[in-house]
Every structure is written in structure tokens, then in C-alpha cells.
């Protein structure tokens, strides 16, 4: 029995979500700074020039209101911006505009599905809007500042400490990603840091009345690193306690190469941010009607899709894979709506077994639903083999169209013409090489039929309908 079993971890997660707006939170600069020249997406407001004033991007407010729906949270009728002060070269104004006292998104919750088919409910404390800082790149004895990202709109989603395992932490992060991408709140480009997680973790013995001292692992940008960092911290903190040492309340970073966390700064260095209301930005006032109107435009969210897919009769891991990307879920849902359960099940299985579920992938081809229906129908009617179906499905996902035409072009249609197959069957049965098998079958050993069907498939170049071939063999023997 390991000592680790005596301890429980408690995790709260803060997640920064980059909003999918065209422009920045307070300026007209382009919000998409991916791969742009440093300081090319910057206007005087982002640069913090004297006399510049913030102009609130209403689209960011709209997206925050949508996020609130995905988080099952109330939206504040009045919310305000505050200034969080600290000095750093990537912070042009000397303060970050954030929401300290009256955030736009109030308490809520999400249910994150676990691998075992159950789910964990994690309450949301609140979520607030804020602007991102810029980026520093350090060289030998100097550093360069890139302000392209400065002013990018974010919402920071703050969970309650309701998470008690590394896998649940991963499940929470994953579900948050799904909710935010399905709701259209963010592009969800994890590679470019569209969602970043700060994991606060402490450990305590089961039954302890107080939580342990917590460490915060900052800036994790994949679900896997959330899980791994939590696992690592769990052991590190228990090892310290078991050695009679103290866990230090501090900020830690994640080293992805070494798969360890490292100390960045302790609480003693904690800054006094001198929060104060930002008088340059009037309060955001939203009526119930406005909130309802905005939230009515939120597309179908993961929990609704899950309900739909529950009746498909596929494995929960298949549902998990379909849900990994909004486009997949939309496809299956559309097939289900117009082609029924059987077709949807086929498509779901194709997706689950044939597609990359890379969590950082953003741009996907989305095949035409009618093409998928046609493909499912062809498979159902055994006009193509399952291997051929997979091949054609991949072709559709790669942007090709019209599966019947594709099947013809690729010579994948099965021959179901009884006359044509019968000719091949007769040919095979007459072949001296088949004599032994024929003998076996006649003496009651049906296993040999498989060999004969294989010969027929070979002769027909895989196009013969194997079921039909088998039926014809039996009739003749």
C-alpha cells in the first residue's frame, strides 16, 4: 500500500480563453497575431501612448455572454473593468485591464465526462473579461518586446476547488475546451495558446479538515500537461510532507521536456496589484432581453450532443472521439437527423477509428452530409466492402465528393449481379485446386467455405459480394 493512497489532491483551475473577435478588446488592431511580424498588429492604444483611451469591443462582450451560457452561469446585469497594476515590459500601460470586483460571468458549473463513462461536476466561481499582455523574448543581455498579443480579449474562467484527481483535471480542461469551441467563444487553437490553464493544487490526508498549502502551475496549454502536472505535483507535495518538509505556496512552471514542475516565484514575492476601478470604461449594462437574445444564438453544446448520441449504440470512447471536435459532432448529428440511427452509427465509427483527434487541430474539412448518407447507404446495402467504405470516407474527409462516383472510379463497387458471380463461383469450383475444399464441405466441414469465398474475391478483384458468393457456393454443393 503506497503512502500516496493516504492523500487526496484538491485542484482548482483558472483557464484563460482567447475570444474569437476580429479586433482587440479595447482597440481596432487585428486580434489574430499568429505568425505576424512582431509589433505589426499594434495601434497607439495597444502601445500605451499618452492620451490613448480604451474603446470596449462589443463583440467581446457578446462572446462572454455566450460563454456564460456554456458555463450554466448567470450574466451580471452590471459589470465593470478594473486595473491590475504591475510593471513588466510586456504590459504597455503599467496595468492590465481586468474585472476584479464585478465580473461579467457569475457562478455556474460544468459536468465533465470521465473516461469511465461517469462525469464530474465542477462549479465555476466566476469568469471575467481581461486583456492579454504582450510577449518578451530574451536574448543574451537584452530582451525584445512584441505587443501583437497585448490587448487580445480573454475570459478567465475560475473554477471552485472541486477536482480531486489528475484525470478529472484533464476531463475538466477538455470539456471546457469543447464548451468554448462549440459555443463559438474561441477558435480553440491550443498551439497558439488560445486556451491556457493555471492549475492550483494542494494535497491533504483523507479526512483532514484543512486543505494543504497550494502550488499554482501556470500556463499549461494542453489537456495532457494539465493531467501530468497534477500527477507530478501530487507526488512532489506528498514526498515533501512525508519528509517532514513544508509545501511552499508558490507559482510553478511546467517543463514539458522533463515532465516536471519547477519553482518560479514564491508568495513572499507576491505583488500588490493595487486594483482600482477603470474610470475610462463605463460599466457594461445588459438587460435580461439582451442576454436572452445573445444566448439564443449559441449553437448546440456538448451536453445536448451527448444526449443525442447516447441512443446511437456506440462505445463511450467513440462518443468521446466524435465530441473531440465540434465539426465531427455536427456531422454525426446531421447524419442522425436525416439518415437515422444506423447511418449515424456507421459515420460515428468511421470518425472514431479513422481520424486524427489531435486536440490542437483547428482547420478540418467537413464533408457534405448527403455524401456521407450515400456512403452509409452503400455500405448498408453491401455495395462496397467495409475497407472500401473506410477508404471512401477518408476521401470525403479530404475534400472529395460523390462517393458513388468515387467508388466507380476506384473500382470499389461490389458485384451483386448473381449471374456474374455465379460464373466466377462455377469457375472456382471447377478449379482442381479447389477439390480438397469441395470435398471438406461435402463431408460437413463448413470452414472450407471461407477459402473458396477468398478465391472468388481474388478472381473478382475484391468486387464480388462475399455474402452472395457464399450463398451460391452452398446452393451448388
Amino acid at each position: 500500500m503506497s503512502v500516496y493512497n493516504d492523500y487526496e489532491m484538491t485542484i482548482g483551475i483558472e483557464c484563460h480563453v482567447q475570444l474569437a473577435t476580429k479586433t482587440k478588446l479595447f482597440s481596432s488592431a487585428d486580434n489574430d497575431a499568429r505568425d505576424a511580424e512582431p509589433n505589426s498588429k499594434v495601434v497607439p492604444i495597444d502601445f500605451g501612448l499618452p492620451g490613448m483611451l480604451p474603446v470596449l469591443n462589443r463583440e467581446a462582450v457578446t462572446l462572454a455572454v455566450k460563454a456564460g451560457k456554456a458555463l450554466n452561469a448567470d450574466i451580471a446585469h452590471i459589470s465593470r473593468f478594473d486595473r491590475k497594476h504591475y510593471f513588466y515590459p510586456d504590459l504597455p500601460k503599467g496595468y492590465q485591464t481586468s474585472q476584479m470586483y464585478q465580473p461579467i460571468i457569475l457562478a455556474g458549473y460544468i459536468d465533465a465526462p470521465l473516461d469511465n463513462g461517469e462525469s464530474v461536476r465542477v462549479r465555476i466561481h466566476h469568469a471575467h473579461m481581461e486583456e492579454d499582455a504582450g510577449k518578451l523574448t530574451h536574448y543574451g543581455d537584452y530582451s525584445l518586446v512584441d505587443l501583437n498579443r497585448a490587448g487580445t480579449p480573454l475570459i478567465e474562467i475560475v473554477s471552485e476547488p472541486d477536482i480531486h484527481s489528475a484525470s478529472a483535471a484533464r476531463a475538466y480542461a477538455t470539456e471546457l475546451y469543447r464548451l468554448m469551441t462549440y459555443a463559438g467563444v474561441t477558435h480553440g487553437d491550443l498551439y497558439h495558446g488560445n486556451m491556457r490553464f493555471d492549475v492550483n493544487i494542494s494535497v491533504a490526508k483523507y479526512g483532514a479538515t484543512e486543505l494543504g498549502k497550494r502550488a499554482e502551475v501556470k500556463n499549461l496549454n494542453s489537456f495532457r500537461s494539465v493531467e501530468k502536472a497534477a500527477e507530478y505535483e501530487f507526488k512532489r507535495q506528498i514526498d515533501l510532507i512525508e519528509k517532514g518538509e513544508q509545501v511552499v505556496q508558490e507559482t510553478r512552471g511546467w517543463n514539458d521536456d522533463k515532465q516536471i514542475t519547477t519553482s518560479q516565484r514564491s508568495k513572499e514575492d507576491a505583488q500588490d496589484y493595487r486594483y482600482m476601478p477603470d474610470a475610462d470604461i463605463p460599466p457594461i449594462v445588459l438587460t435580461d432581453e439582451e442576454i436572452t437574445e445573445i444566448q439564443a444564438t449559441v449553437p448546440k453544446l456538448p451536453p445536448e450532443y451527448r444526449k443525442e448520441f447516447a441512443g446511437l449504440g456506440v462505445d463511450s470512447s467513440v462518443v468521446g472521439k466524435i465530441m473531440s471536435h465540434k465539426d465531427y459532432a455536427e456531422i454525426v448529428s446531421a447524419v442522425l437527423a436525416s439518415g437515422g440511427r444506423k447511418a449515424a452509427k456507421r459515420v460515428a465509427n468511421w470518425i472514431a477509428s479513422n481520424l486524427s483527434t489531435d486536440e490542437t487541430e483547428v482547420e478540418l474539412q467537413t464533408p457534405d452530409v448527403d455524401d456521407l448518407l450515400a456512403l452509409a447507404d452503400m455500405t448498408e446495402k453491401a455495395e462496397i466492402t467495409s475497407n472500401a467504405a473506410t477508404e471512401l470516407f477518408n476521401a470525403l474527409m479530404n475534400g472529395e465528393v460523390d462517393p458513388r462516383k468515387l467508388a466507380e472510379e476506384r473500382n470499389l463497387l461490389q458485384v451483386s449481379d448473381e449471374g456474374a458471380i455465379a460464373a466466377i463461383v462455377d469457375e472456382v469450383l471447377a478449379d482442381p485446386a479447389s477439390a480438397k475444399a469441395v470435398e471438406d464441405i461435402r463431408s460437413g466441414n463448413d470452414k472450407a467455405i471461407g477459402y473458396l469465398v477468398g478465391q472468388i474475391m481474388k478472381k473478382s478483384q475484391g468486387k464480388a459480394n462475399p455474402g452472395l458468393a457464399q450463398k451460391l457456393i452452398k446452393e451448388r454443393l
Binding site: 499618452p50 483611451l53 510593471f87 515590459p89 496595468y95 518586446v145 493595487r274 486594483y275 474610470a279
Partner: protein
């Protein structure tokens, strides 16, 4: 003193050359930090060719040097921005230029507008237009003096707690602090975001109304601007006016009180009613102001870090040293004092005790004003407790200097329009201003009332 009408219709080049010559011959006042001569002459020629037209075509003016404006650096009278060339112009400047006005120079101020005498300029004080041994007032001292010296018929200033009204009073010109949000703050070096206003100095109330009419209005680049409301008016119905009792106590200079009473007599003679009223919360206004404003100052000045623009210390080894030395060298003592006070009142554990309490008291003050405005059209009182004081008289004692703001900060905290109009002179010939305060958006009425009694006895 000349009015705007004395300039319109003349050759713009002649107007500008005359203003530039007057500026140069009055250098001893140190009212201007720079002349935008080349740009001004170019624009004058464009006006004379008919390429630029408008209500202020060819009229020269001066901006306080905390407005982003072309033609010379925008310094905020600080070493920090000594060489800062603005890449764009303030909305107020753009609007005036769109009407053909021509900026000829940039006026001195207390560095970053922190002060009430223009002695805090990093480049030396401005001298009073009526007595070179006395202060110009501040922080918009330079703008008041160039107007009083007739160098230009109007000048721009900013008023956060009296920075237009007090120097207007000290130099005998009209000074307008509009309703908060009446004029866009875009492109003006921020001091305290919740009380900063953009206004003007002029030689008479009608000119001030004309200039304000051009500058006011909703600006999408400043979210705090109000929808357009300012319409210059002439002639006012009889007003019911409250004389603020707390402003007429024995602490106030006798000659100042006499000047107010004399102005009250003129108002009564013109058919207006004046009664004494009380505004008890004003005695706490200075305490509120010197918590809220330094807090906002400490925030708004955080951007001057030597990283992207502005003064950057040389020979530093660490980032902390770069920040520390750049800011130490770039700011004057009064800037640092306010940053320190502001950082203190915002710090963890003190925010509730100071900043939040001050904001609550501010609400009480606003409510008292609102109650008075249920029964009175506007209020009257002095602008400052004394006429212009001597250069150096208050510099050793910051609290004494702050006390000079005691009558101007309350309307600022409440976002109210308030104007300073000439109310005669002291026995020694120093101007004394009268302050008229109205409810929000009553700016045009205040100016119309002032215009209606101008020249009366």
C-alpha cells in the same frame, strides 16, 4: 483684450505672425514651452488660399502642452516626455483645426498637470500676467497667461481639480471647466480619469462658448463622452442662484469675498435672485480629492516606464533599475508625491479605508449638489481663497498648496460644469475670479449668464 471676432476675416498669416511676435516679445513670462511656427504659418497660408475654412478660420490659439498636437514635442512640461513627438492629435485639437483655428504654440503647465501654480514645470515656472513676482496659477498657467497677455484670443487647458478655473482667476480671463464628458479626452495626457476635463480660456464668455461649441460632442474614441448637448445660447431667463456659505468664511481673503459680493450685486441688478445656501460636504472635498486623484494619477502614470517611449535612464544594469531611474529622472517631485500617495491608498489593506471611503464621501457630495439643484439653477462662490500668491510662497508646504484648490475640487468630484469669470481686482491690482457652478450639461447657460453681465457694474 481682443476677442475672436477681432481675428476672423483678417489675413491668417498676419494673425499668426502677430501672435508669434507677441509670444516672442513676452518670453519673460515663460508662458510657452514651444512655438509651432512652421506648421502655423503653413496652415495660415492654406487658410488665406481658402483651402481651410470654418468658424475659426485663421484664428491663432495655444494648447496646454499636455494635448497631443503636431508641430513641436508634447512634453507635459516633464523631462519624461521632453522629446515626445505625438503621432496623432487630440480630438479637441482636431476639431478646432477642422474649423480653421491655428495652433501657434504649446503652453507651460505643472508637469503632468500636477499642481496649482505652474511652479512644478520641469522647465521653470510661468509668471503671472499682472505681476511677474506672482504665480500664474495652475496647472494650466501658461494657457491663462497667453490669453491674458493678448497673445492669442483663446487657449486650451485641462481641469482636473481647478487647473483651468484657478489660473483664469489669477490672470483675469474667462476659464471653462465643462461637464465631465462634454469634451473628448482622447489625445490628452491623462491625469485623473474620473475628473479630467478639457476646457478653454478666452477673453470673454461668448468666445469661450464658441470654442466650447466646437470642441464638445460625443467621440467614439472616448467612451466617457456624453451625447452632444452643448448649444451656445444668448440671453438667460432670471436665474435662482445659491451663494455657497462655506466658501465665504473668514478663512477666505476679504478682498475675494468683496469681489464675490460685488458680482452678486450685478447679478441681482440684472434680475437674478441670489440666496445663501449650504453645502456641508465641501469641507471634506479636499480630503476626497487628494485620495482619489493621486490613486488615478499613480495608475495613469504607470505607463511612463522608459521602455517604449519617453525618458530612459542610461547605464542601468537591471530592469528594476531601468524603471526606477527612468521614472526618478523623468518625474518632478510633485509627480512622485502623488504616485506615492496613490500607490499607498490603493495598496492591499488600505484600499477600503481610503479609496473606497473617499468614493462614498464623493457620493454624499454629489447628492448634496443634486439636492441644491432641485431648488437652485446654479451656484456661485470664489474660485480660490486668495488672489495669485507669490512665486515660491507655497512650494515648501504641499498642504498649503493643496488648500488653494479647496473651492475648485468639489465640482470636479461631482463632474459639474464650472466657470471662472473676472470679478474685478484687488487693491494691489490682482485679478479675482468668480466661480459659477451648474448642474450637469448647464455649461451653455453658465456662459450665457456670464456674458449677460459682462461689462455691467
Amino acid at each position: 483684450m481682443a476677442s475672436i471676432a477681432d481675428y476672423t476675416g483678417n489675413s491668417a498669416r498676419a494673425n499668426v505672425e502677430k501672435a508669434l511676435a507677441a509670444a516672442k516679445s513676452n518670453e519673460s513670462y515663460h508662458a510657452l514651452l514651444s512655438l509651432t511656427e512652421a506648421r502655423a504659418l503653413k496652415r495660415a497660408d492654406a487658410v488665406d488660399r481658402g483651402e481651410i475654412t470654418g468658424r475659426l478660420a485663421g484664428v491663432p490659439f495655444v494648447v496646454k502642452d499636455n494635448f497631443l498636437a503636431f508641430g513641436a514635442p508634447t512634453t507635459a512640461a516633464s523631462k519624461m516626455l521632453e522629446n515626445f513627438d505625438a503621432p496623432l492629435q487630440a480630438t479637441a485639437v482636431e476639431k478646432l483645426e477642422a474649423e480653421g483655428a491655428i495652433c501657434i504654440g504649446k503652453a507651460n503647465l505643472d508637469a503632468f498637470a500636477h499642481g496649482g501654480s505652474t511652479e512644478n514645470s520641469a522647465f521653470g515656472p510661468t509668471k503671472n500676467a499682472h505681476d511677474q513676482g506672482r504665480v500664474a496659477g495652475g496647472s494650466s498657467g501658461g494657457s491663462a497667461v497667453v490669453t491674458a497677455l493678448d497673445i492669442v484670443p483663446f487657449a486650451l487647458g485641462t481641469d482636473t481639480g481647478g487647473s483651468i478655473r484657478q489660473p483664469a482667476s489669477f490672470n483675469g480671463v474667462v476659464g471653462v471647466k465643462p461637464t465631465y464628458g462634454a469634451v473628448s479626452r482622447y489625445g490628452v495626457v491623462a491625469m485623473a480619469s474620473s475628473t479630467d476635463t478639457i476646457g478653454c480660456f478666452a477673453t470673454n464668455a461668448d468666445d469661450a462658448a464658441l470654442v466650447m461649441g466646437v470642441m464638445t460632442g460625443r467621440d467614439v474614441r472616448d467612451m466617457t463622452t456624453l451625447p452632444d448637448f452643448f448649444v451656445p445660447t444668448t440671453g438667460v431667463r432670471p436665474q435662482k442662484i445659491g451663494l455657497i456659505r462655506e466658501y465665504m468664511s473668514d478663512d477666505v481673503d476679504g478682498e475675494v469675498r468683496m469681489a464675490i459680493e460685488k458680482y452678486v450685486d450685478r447679478l441681482r441688478a440684472a434680475g437674478h435672485t441670489v440666496e445663501e445656501v449650504s453645502l456641508p460636504a465641501v469641507k471634506y472635498a479636499l480630503a476626497m480629492y487628494y485620495i482619489i486623484v493621486p490613486a488615478e494619477v499613480s495608475s495613469n502614470l504607470a505607463r511612463y516606464d522608459g521602455i517604449r517611449y519617453g525618458h530612459r535612464a542610461e547605464g542601468v544594469q537591471t530592469l528594476a533599475e531601468l524603471y526606477g531611474r527612468s521614472r526618478d529622472e523623468g518625474f518632478v517631485t510633485e509627480n512622485k508625491r502623488r504616485i506615492m500617495i496613490g500607490s499607498y491608498v490603493l495598496s492591499s489593506g488600505f484600499f477600503d479605508a481610503y479609496y473606497q471611503q473617499a468614493q462614498k464621501a464623493r457620493t454624499i457630495l454629489i447628492n448634496e449638489y443634486n439636492t441644491l439643484f432641485e431648488n437652485y439653477d446654479l451656484l456661485i462662490g470664489p474660485v480660490a481663497p486668495t488672489p495669485a500668491f507669490r512665486l515660491g510662497e507655497n512650494t515648501a508646504d504641499p498642504v498649503k498648496m493643496y488648500l488653494a484648490d479647496i473651492m475648485t475640487v468639489p465640482p470636479s468630484l461631482a463632474g459639474l460644469p464650472a466657470i471662472s469669470v473676472p470679478g474685478g481686482t484687488s487693491a494691489s491690482g490682482l485679478p479675482i475670479g468668480v466661480q459659477l457652478i451648474g448642474p450637469q450639461k448647464s455649461d451653455a447657460t453658465l456662459l450665457a449668464l456670464a456674458a449677460s453681465v459682462e461689462g455691467s457694474q
